[in-house]
Amino acid sequence: MRRRTFLAAMPALALAAGAGCADPRSHAQAVYLLVDTSGTYASEVGKSQLIVNYLLGTLQPGDSLAVARVRSRSFSEKDIIAKATFDSRPSQANAQKRAFKERVEAFTATPQGSANTDITGGLIQGAQYLNETGAGRKTILIFSDMQEDLDRSTIRNFPIDLKDIRVVAVNVVKLRTDNLDPRRYLGRLADWQKRVKSAGATEWRVINDLDHLDSLLRS
């Protein structure tokens, strides 16, 4: 009788031990890609597909990905073009990635330009999305020239919260004025770095070479 009890208890014990020993921290990764569609950057939108493809090939089952556009006012769920938390089963995750790719392809094929550029609104929206996923590693990718251009009624000059989020600016092209005075470009990047770091971001990085995207998700 005692032997039977012992044999029956072994699997239960193993399950309990397994549940107790499980790492409570989330190992999932969440990425929020902001794609600038403003007039100065509209011609670059097609390149964002490269980044999305790289992300789809790199992210693992259980990770989350969202792609949103930056428009005149970007603090809105309506600006999210596609979002998905990939299934923990690899086969289902692959199917989700295919569907995701098609949605982003449809967007990049017919980009709609915007008069102004609200990067800050997109950052706030992205931070909210990433925090909701509960992922362990959170990254916001900004595919833009980082030239914010707000209309008079849009208010963004307040502190934002990007705690525990990496922020990576990708393909930050130089504007015509930057060519005249490079200090404008460098100053713009320095301003963003300061703002992002003061918002609590864990890292600020600029990647302009799209052939070396492997450091996108690596801190």
């Binding site: 397994g18 692959n94 990635k97």
Partner: protein
């Protein structure tokens, strides 16, 4: 000036200041010579004593450990040799049962064949009857010399004809007789061959029995040496254990490689079953742990299978099970192993499908055309993986054999290593203890060198003092006497 240290009597001249202080301190140092020497001796004893005691204790422990290792080793060797002797006797019993069981029949057959051969031989010995008596008469007549008489001449011719006829008849009869004997001799051959074969067969069996007997003798000699607890037996057993240990280690490493391949085969598809997003530790996924668990369960089932087949003896409880229960357990272990092998084959197939799916996705993301593939060729890795997935669990089952050797020999090797370690530590402790004691002596001598002037003065004072009876004046009362 103001920056000079406080102890400088002559600011800016450290050497002179230090010398002055030294001269001032010398009488005090001389006065404190006895206590300082005692202190150094005490320090030497304080550090060296425990080290020496510790070394002695460790040597004693090493000796006990060695004796215990020896006892365990000899007991293991005794048990092993007993098993081998028992196995040899079992083999001899099997030989006797198999070969000598039919010995009466063999003997009867041999006797029959020998009897038959003897009868035939006897028949061969029978010679045709000798010529009749009148032949002698005819021979006598034949000796008559022809003298020209016609009657005699005719008579002799008649006799000659008769003799020739009789001779021909006798020759024919002899030939017939010899033909008959040759036929009998021809008939001998199969019996001779059969006899030869039977005897050769019996000889082989006897040789095999003799070989087994020689093996038993060798084992008995070993057994006796172990019972006598001879150093030779201990050395041989230690050497055997070392060989077993290293062989088993190498085989286990190879098996670990097989287990790793097995793990790689099933880790990915396990994520399809238990999910890929759960982690047990920072870097260990639940799916990987699940794959490891499956491999360990397979190895365990293999272990039970080997135990129930009585190939290994890691679990005495299994060996003491009733025969029926042991057989049931064996079939249960084999069935589980078979099921797990089937599961692994299916997982290997799933792995291949998942990789193909991922590859297709990556190709679509990279916007490159998929490479043209031949269905027949791409099927080979799939089939290979499935086959490997099915075979590896059974191959892993045989880990039990080297594992048993490893565990058994590790006791001996570990014990011997522990003895060496303990002895080395003891020697080191003794060396350090001695070094410390010698160091205190060196320090005492150095101290005396520092206060050499007062010591010289003391010696001079003692030399001018009236010598004690039996002691000449000017005897050196140096360091040794004071200390």
């Amino acid at each position: 000036m103001a920056d000079s240290p406080f102890w400088m009597i002559w600011p800016g001249n450290a050497a002179l200041s230090a010398l002055a202080w030294f001269v001032v301190a010398m009488p005090f140092l001389y006065a404190a010579r006895g206590p300082v020497h005692a202190l150094l001796r005490a320090l030497g004893q304080l550090a060296g004593g425990p080290l020496r005691l510790g070394a002695r204790a460790l040597l004693a422990a090493a000796h006990d450990l060695r004796e215990r290792n020896r006892a365990v080793l000899l007991a293991q060797g005794l048990e092993e040799t007993q098993e081998r002797i028992a196995r040899e006797f079992e083999r001899v019993a099997a030989l006797v049962k198999r070969d000598l069981e039919g010995y009466p029949a063999l003997q009867r057959r041999l006797l029959d064949e020998i009897t038959r051969v003897e009868e035939d031989y006897r028949k061969c010995g029978e010679v045709p009857p000798p010529p009749p008596e009148w032949v002698d008469a005819v021979a006598a007549v034949a000796k008559i010399k022809p003298n020209g008489n016609e009657l005699v001449q005719r008579l002799l011719e008649e006799i000659n004809v008769s003799i020739k006829a009789i001779h021909d008849k006798a020759i024919a009869e002899y030939r017939r007789a010899y033909q008959a004997r040759h036929r009998i001799l021809d008939g001998f051959m199969p019996f001779w061959r059969s006899l030869d074969r039977t005897l050769a067969h019996a000889d082989r069996k006897m040789t095999s029995l003799a070989d087994r007997a020689a093996a038993i003798d060798a084992q008995m000699e070993r057994f006796e040496a172990i019972v006598k607890k001879s150093d030779r037996a201990e050395h041989a057993l230690t050497l055997s254990a070392l060989t077993q240990f290293f062989t088993a280690t190498v085989v286990l490493l190879v098996a670990a490689g097989g287990a790793l391949i097995n793990f790689k085969l099933i880790a990915l598809p396990m994520s399809e079953m238990v999910g890929a997003g759960d982690y047990l530790t920072a870097s260990l996924r639940t799916s990987e742990v699940a794959a490891l668990v499956i491999i360990f369960v397979e190895a365990t089932m293999g272990l039970f299978l080997m135990e129930t087949l009585r190939i290994t003896r890691l679990f005495p409880r299994i060996h003491s099970l009733p025969e029926l229960q042991r057989r049931r357990m064996m079939w249960a272990a084999f069935t589980l192993l078979l099921v797990l092998a089937g599961v692994e084959a299916a997982l290997a197939l799933m792995r291949d499908m998942l990789i193909a799916d991922k590859q297709a996705l990556l190709q679509s993301l990279a916007a490159t055309r998929p490479a043209a593939t031949d269905g027949w060729l791409t099927g080979i890795p799939t089939a290979g993986q499935m086959l490997l997935g099915f075979i590896l669990p059974f191959a892993l089952a045989f880990i039990a054999v080297p594992l048993e050797s490893f565990i058994t020999s590790a006791r001996t090797v570990g014990g011997a290593a522990l003895v060496v370690l303990t002895r080395t530590t003891a020697v080191l402790m003794r060396v350090v203890g001695n070094l410390i004691r010698q160091l205190t002596k060196v320090l005492a001598t150095l101290y005396d060198i520092l206060i050499v002037l007062p010591l010289l003065a003391e010696r001079w004072a003692k030399s001018v003092r009236v010598p004690a009876p039996g002691r000449p004046a000017g005897v050196d009362l140096g360091v040794g006497e004071r200390s």
